[in-house]
């Protein structure tokens, strides 16, 4: 989208040319390959803690981030990513290598082992590193987009949430603030049927999250979250409106979490047929089938992208595995800018409690 060279050739769908469509496919395949690789590393004992996947939801992150002005110099649009938007992280410029290093808590990783999964920040690439408490990132993104607006920067912020997150006070307050200030903000709700084990009917009385928009006086749209082009078009419109001073849009992307909340969740609360039904609606499979049917790409071209994604992830994973863990003593660094938190006095070469003062 960014690259004018890519706009060459005929418009095939959603005002996109062949190379754009291939790129959408490529990033969905890359997200899936990276997460598949992570599962292998978990089984091998390299990943500690939770492993969260976006399996079956790849079209939401990829389709929406593709509509952004993506740059790597800190002047582009920004996203508040989640564990269900691996593809968006990669599209923004985050790499599978960084992703693996972070999950493996390597000293080479973006947080040098201090934080887990996709909780990392890269302002130059427009990645806003999340915290776990749900809703917080919507508030923070409201402030970021406020500055975009008030300093006249033509930039847009996009914050992802799950259906469950919309029940938090934080999400509500952040969105309302952005709405009142007419910030250039796009809120995407990935409505994937469950928040951990809790079905949507226990989160909201609404049949669609677009129903919330009226309460904020903002625009909204509901899309098939497993159709990457539909997600792309809706986001492109919302982003254009935001950039033009039209304020906030809420997009509901209807999709499905095909695995448990994390690897430790056996999903016993879900009927098997429901998962099978959504396997048939797989966003990558659907897009592949459509591209071939419409003659936008050859099967062999898509196969080549799949293979390249898998090979890249395998290579990057092997590299991350070889890299070192952070040195233990780094734990006391960077709690403050320019101050070192005291080392435990019991670990001084000559232990004395007098050595413990900060």
């Amino acid at each position: 989208m960014n690259d004018p060279a890519r706009a060459d050739g005929p418009r095939l769908a959603a005002d996109l040319g062949k190379s754009d469509l291939l790129e959408l496919y490529e990033y969905m395949a890359l997200a899936r390959a990276a997460e598949d690789r992570l599962e292998i590393m978990l089984k091998q004992g390299h990943v500690k803690g939770g492993l969260y996947r976006s399996l079956g939801q790849e079209a939401v992150g990829v389709g929406s981030a593709f509509a952004l002005d993506r740059r790597v110099d800190g002047t582009g649009d920004m996203i508040a990513q989640t564990v269900r938007t691996t593809g968006a992280i990669f599209l923004m410029g985050g790499t599978p290598l960084q992703y693996f290093r972070q999950y493996l808590a390597r000293s080479t990783g973006p947080t040098r082992g201090r934080e887990a999964n996709v909780h990392w920040c890269d302002f130059r690439k427009g990645l806003l590193g999340p915290v776990s408490p749900l809703g917080t990132m919507t508030q923070v993104m409201a402030g970021i987009t406020l500055v975009f607006k008030q300093t006249g920067q033509p930039r847009v912020g996009l914050a992802y949430a799950g259906d469950g997150q919309t029940s938090t006070g934080a999400w509500h307050e952040g969105l309302n603030f952005a709405a009142v200030r007419r910030c250039p903000f796009v809120a995407i709700v990935q409505s994937n049927k469950y928040a951990f084990s809790t079905p949507i009917r226990l989160q909201t009385r609404l049949a669609s999250f677009t129903g919330k928009a009226a309460g904020y006086g903002i625009e909204s749209r509901s899309v098939d979250g497993n159709d990457v082009l539909e997600v792309f078009e809706a986001t492109r419109d919302a982003v254009a409106r935001a950039r033009d001073g039209g304020g906030v849009t809420l997009i509901e992307a209807r999709t499905y979490r095909r695995l448990g909340h994390a690897q430790h969740d056996a999903q016993e609360y879900v009927p098997r047929e429901e998962i099978e039904e959504w396997e048939r609606k797989d966003p990558i499979g659907r897009f592949r089938e459509r591209m071939v049917r419409e003659g936008w790409a050859l099967e062999s071209e898509l196969d080549a992208l799949d293979v390249a994604a898998r090979e890249r992830c395998e290579k990057d994973a092997e590299r991350a595995i070889q890299e070192p863990a952070p040195d233990a003593e780094e734990a006391v660094q960077r709690v403050y800018e320019g101050l070192i938190t005291s080392v435990p006095w019991t670990r001084l070469p000559e232990p004395t409690p007098r050595g413990a003062a900060i």
């Binding site: 201090r114 934080e115 408490p133």
Partner: protein, 361 residues
């Protein structure tokens, strides 16, 4: 307040119409009646289950506690036994459902709120400290609310699934704070907390939940462990070690090392309740040993060791033969990487070093 409720009404709500079916007890709450040893987690499940059977006013609220049985499966099977009006699966709204618990308490019920991880108690900080903790003082009546959930590090959970929250609430008059270290205490303290008319924050170290070495056979009859009373874990004459939670177990290891290798006798007190503090037990021990080490997993600055040291200073200064010392986590967020987290957390060797320093002082 003198409402005379029977068990809460059982008509279906629109939100969730799962029928109330009384089936057999979930397997994990029947170990004690079968004479089998229980884990820390099973002891907590038994306490909840037995209190719900004993008193129809007790009910549970929290995220994923129903069909899923809670993130750690403490309430597995409860919804089948008690129905969806006494086991309420909430939206992700800690502030909302903790506030709702306060309202239910006003109406004579005894809510037990589960935080999926205690790290996420923070959105409810306002209602807990400003509303629940002040209710009695404001003349709005007692607040028999228990807020419980997993805490603590060592599981590679990173900064938001590893916190200890006691000191965020310690400074709020009106709250009680409980932090058990054994299955026996966990069950007895949780029952006492549920029966108590004051609000209680109840912390459960997730590293203790399934620790096999802690399994123990509990009494088959109903019992409570009174709030506000410390427990002597080990008798000793040279040094007093005050601790709680996971650190009780590290401290026992360290004390054994001191006994075996140095011939130093360490007395260990497990606080069990952090608020109110059992001053008497602490002073009694310090007066006998003249030396005090406080060990806590929580971070150092603003940790409970500071308050304990001040109280000993006020009440037993003349008995001290050495400065009061502490072993605690470093002042940082809880890091994710194993190397960093192990460095962050107090280890047994830190306790050994501190005890040796005190013994030689």
């Amino acid at each position: 307040m003198s409402f005379n409720f029977s068990a809460p009404a059982t008509e279906d709500t629109e939100a969730d119409s799962a029928p109330v079916v009384t089936i057999d007890k979930p397997e994990h709450v029947t170990k004690t009646e079968r004479g089998e040893p229980v884990t820390f987690l099973e002891a907590i499940a038994e306490a909840l289950f037995e209190e719900m059977v004993r008193d129809g006013h007790v009910f549970l609220l929290g995220e994923d506690i129903g069909v899923y049985g809670g993130a750690f499966k403490v309430t597995k099977g409860f919804i089948d036994h008690f129905g969806s009006e006494r086991i309420i699966d909430t939206p992700i709204s800690e502030a909302g459902f903790t506030g709702a618990a306060a309202g239910a308490a006003h109406m004579g019920l005894r809510p037990v709120v589960e935080m999926q991880f205690m790290d996420f108690i923070s959105p409810a900080y306002d209602v807990i400290t400003n509303y629940i903790a002040t209710s009695l003082y404001r003349g709005s009546g007692p607040m028999p609310v228990v807020i419980r959930g997993p805490v603590g590090g060592g599981n590679r959970g990173g900064p938001f699934h590893s916190q200890n929250v006691e000191m965020a609430f310690f400074h709020t008059p009106g709250l009680k704070i409980v932090y058990p270290s054994t299955p026996y205490d966990a069950k007895g303290l949780l029952k006492a907390a549920i029966r108590d008319d004051d609000p209680v924050i109840f912390e459960e170290h997730k590293g203790l939940y399934r620790a096999p070495q802690l399994r123990e056979v509990l009494p088959t009859e109903d019992y409570v462990v009174p709030l506000g009373k410390a427990r002597q874990v080990r008798e000793g004459s040279d040094i007093t070690l005050v601790t709680y939670g996971m650190m009780v177990h590290r401290s026992v290891e360290a004390a054994s090392t001191l006994q075996g290798e140095d011939g130093v006798s360490v007395e260990i007190l497990d606080l069990r309740t952090l608020l109110p503090l059992d001053d008497e037990a602490i002073m009694d021990s310090v007066r006998r040993t003249g030396r005090l080490l406080v060990v806590h997993e929580d971070t150092r600055t603003g940790g409970i060791a500071g308050e304990i040291a001040m109280r000993v200073n006020e009440q037993a200064f003349e008995f001290l033969d050495a400065p009061i010392l502490r072993v605690a986590a470093i002042d940082a967020p809880v890091p994710y990487a194993g190397t960093l987290e192990d460095y962050f957390l107090p280890q047994t060797h830190d306790v050994v070093t501190a005890l040796r320093y005190l013994a030689r002082y």
